[in-house]
């Protein structure tokens, strides 16, 4: 390695020098103030997890930084907070009373190819409520927007969707699992060319409805009453924030089981994402729903 390489940072990482570090500290304090006032407690999990924990995560394994310690165990740098929280709940389930309300501020690490300018260290601020109700979830979203208003980000908007919406639209119970998987993969990759081919072959009658829903934002099947209730409360709480519908937000039906939201702004940047998840019950045997939102602070800090 030459001297120039030794003295540079790998692509996707950054130093927070002086003003940037001070700005992060201010934002952390502001975020903590908001959520402590709402009865949340700080959760600061270890930066290192066992790599096997990634079996319970939606983050693809090839995006996780892993390494081997001297005893041969495969360890990983924290890739998100929700999986660490789930692991913590499983380890401490007898000591914890619900609803549990936590917030966190810190970095997660994901591997991306360097050429697209994507960060590999992402500073995330987030909040999670485990075993809460819809009002608790709306309260959490309000806290997130209270924080965002203080950051000066302009032109905030929200996309919403509901778990299993696409399953209902596609009448998925009539589709072989393999076909459904292919369709969801095409939607996840936003590959409308592949999707068109699959839809024309597998369900030509619903093809138009599917494309109208995904491209025109048309609500081709109704939301479930529970989702309507969530949406009404959300709009009443954040009356000046435009809300649109994006069914492609939820494609992992084993993980999410309710409303899902994504926050973005007029600069076409995703600022945060989250929703109601049921994987704690399915994968960890903890019979509670969770709801959480993680914000991408890299963007807010201009990194």
């Amino acid at each position: 390695m030459n001297l120039k390489n030794e003295l540079s940072l790998p692509a996707g990482f950054f130093d927070l020098e002086f003003e940037k570090a001070a700005a992060k500290r201010r934002l952390e304090n502001h975020f903590a103030d908001i959520f402590v006032n709402k009865g949340y407690r700080e959760f600061s999990p270890s930066l290192i997890e066992n790599y096997e924990l990634s079996d319970f995560s939606l983050v693809p394994k090839n995006k996780i930084f892993k390494f081997i310690d001297k005893s041969g165990d495969i360890l990983a740098l924290r890739w998100d907070y929700t999986t660490s929280l789930a692991r913590f709940l499983k380890m401490n389930s007898e000591k914890i009373s619900f609803p549990l309300k936590v917030f966190y501020c810190g970095s997660v690490f994901r591997f991306f190819e360097g050429s697209m300018g994507r960060p590999r260290e992402i500073i995330q601020f987030g909040a999670e409520i485990i075993g809460g109700d819809v009002d608790g979830e709306i309260e959490l979203i309000k806290g997130i927007f209270e924080f965002l208003k203080g950051t000066g980000v302009k032109g905030l908007r929200i996309s919403v969707s509901e778990a299993e919406y696409l399953k209902r639209l596609l009448s998925a119970e009539h589709l072989p699992a393999e076909s459904l998987e292919k369709i969801l993969h095409a939607i996840k990759c936003k590959d409308f060319i592949m999707l068109n081919e699959l839809a024309s072959a597998l369900f030509p009658e619903q093809r138009e409805d599917l494309f109208d829903t995904l491209l025109s934002g048309k609500n081709s099947v109704d939301f479930r009453p529970e989702m309507e209730n969530f949406l009404e409360k959300l709009k009443n709480s954040l009356f000046n924030i435009p809300v649109d519908f994006d069914p492609s937000l939820v494609l992992d039906f084993d993980y999410y089981n309710g409303p899902m939201i994504e926050i973005y702004d007029q600069n076409k940047t995703s600022i945060g994402k989250g929703g109601r998840y049921g994987f704690l019950s399915k994968m960890f045997g903890i019979d509670k729903n969770g709801f959480g939102i993680a914000l991408n602070l890299n963007y807010i800090l201009g990194l």
């Binding site: 190819e113 050429s115 697209m116 300018g117 908007r157 996309s159 990759c189 936003k190 590959d191 409308f192 060319i193 592949m194 491209l215 025109s216 934002g217 649109d244 994006d246 973005y264 007029q266 600069n267 076409k268 940047t269 995703s270």
Partner: protein
């Protein structure tokens, strides 16, 4: 209605992309002037801005929202895996990514194989699938030079007519990925400018259908 920004690649997809833009309503004459060094072209009537970039930069502009739409080869999309909407096969710029070289020997049985390419991800995926152990050398252009100067044994590059390979005494060993031009879009632009983007997309779709009845050709390999 707000302005739409479209990223168009220089090179072999350029002329066909201008025809598409003309059809959609953007007067593309200003882009055709050879002495023109401008990179951004605006038309107030069509409410469009067209930016001219390198092929591999188009997905970067679109993913980061600097452009709402982009036109780029499927080969570049598969190589870079950008987080963009892939909306339409424009059916021009057809070509194939191929393993090519001067050696007639099967690369599986050679040691110390070096492969020069602009597509390290696609090449490495193909080579490992084929059981070829090779070192990949990333280049940015004129890939055919690499075997001529002994930099590599083989190349992985786009081939349309095969003329450039032939002129450099290279031949195709195995084609493995078909490509054509694609219309891509930024997903957040799609939400923010849905009506005007739908209108653009619909016109592009009709253009492709009309042309595929006649003669959709053009290629972006050599």
């Amino acid at each position: 209605m707000e302005y739409l920004t479209v990223a168009v690649p220089k090179g072999n997809l350029f002329d066909e992309s201008l025809k598409l833009l003309e059809y959609i309503g953007f007067p593309a004459n200003q882009l055709k002037k050879e002495e023109n060094r401008k990179l951004i072209f605006t038309d107030t009537r069509a409410k469009m801005k067209v930016v001219v970039t390198r092929n591999f930069d188009v997905p970067v502009y679109v993913e980061h929202g600097a452009a709402d739409f982009g036109i780029v080869g499927k080969d570049v999309i598969a190589e870079m895996k950008p987080d963009v909407m892939e909306l339409l096969d424009l059916r021009y710029g057809r070509c194939t990514l191929c393993l090519a070289g001067r050696e007639k020997e099967d690369p599986k049985f050679l040691n110390n194989v070096r492969v020069a390419t602009k597509y390290p991800n696609l090449a490495s995926h193909f080579l490992s699938k084929e059981g070829i152990r090779a070192r990949i050398i990333k280049l940015h252009g004129n890939i055919e030079l690499a075997p001529l100067l002994g930099l590599s044994t083989y190349i992985v590059d786009l081939v349309a007519t095969g003329k450039t390979l032939k002129e450099n005494n290279l031949s195709i060993i195995k084609p493995f990925f078909s490509s054509s031009a694609r219309l891509i879009a930024n997903p957040f632009s799609w939400k923010l400018k849905r009506d005007s983007m739908l209108e653009f997309f619909e016109k592009a779709r009709i253009y492709v259908e009309e042309r595929s009845g006649s003669n959709a050709s053009g290629s972006h390999g050599t």
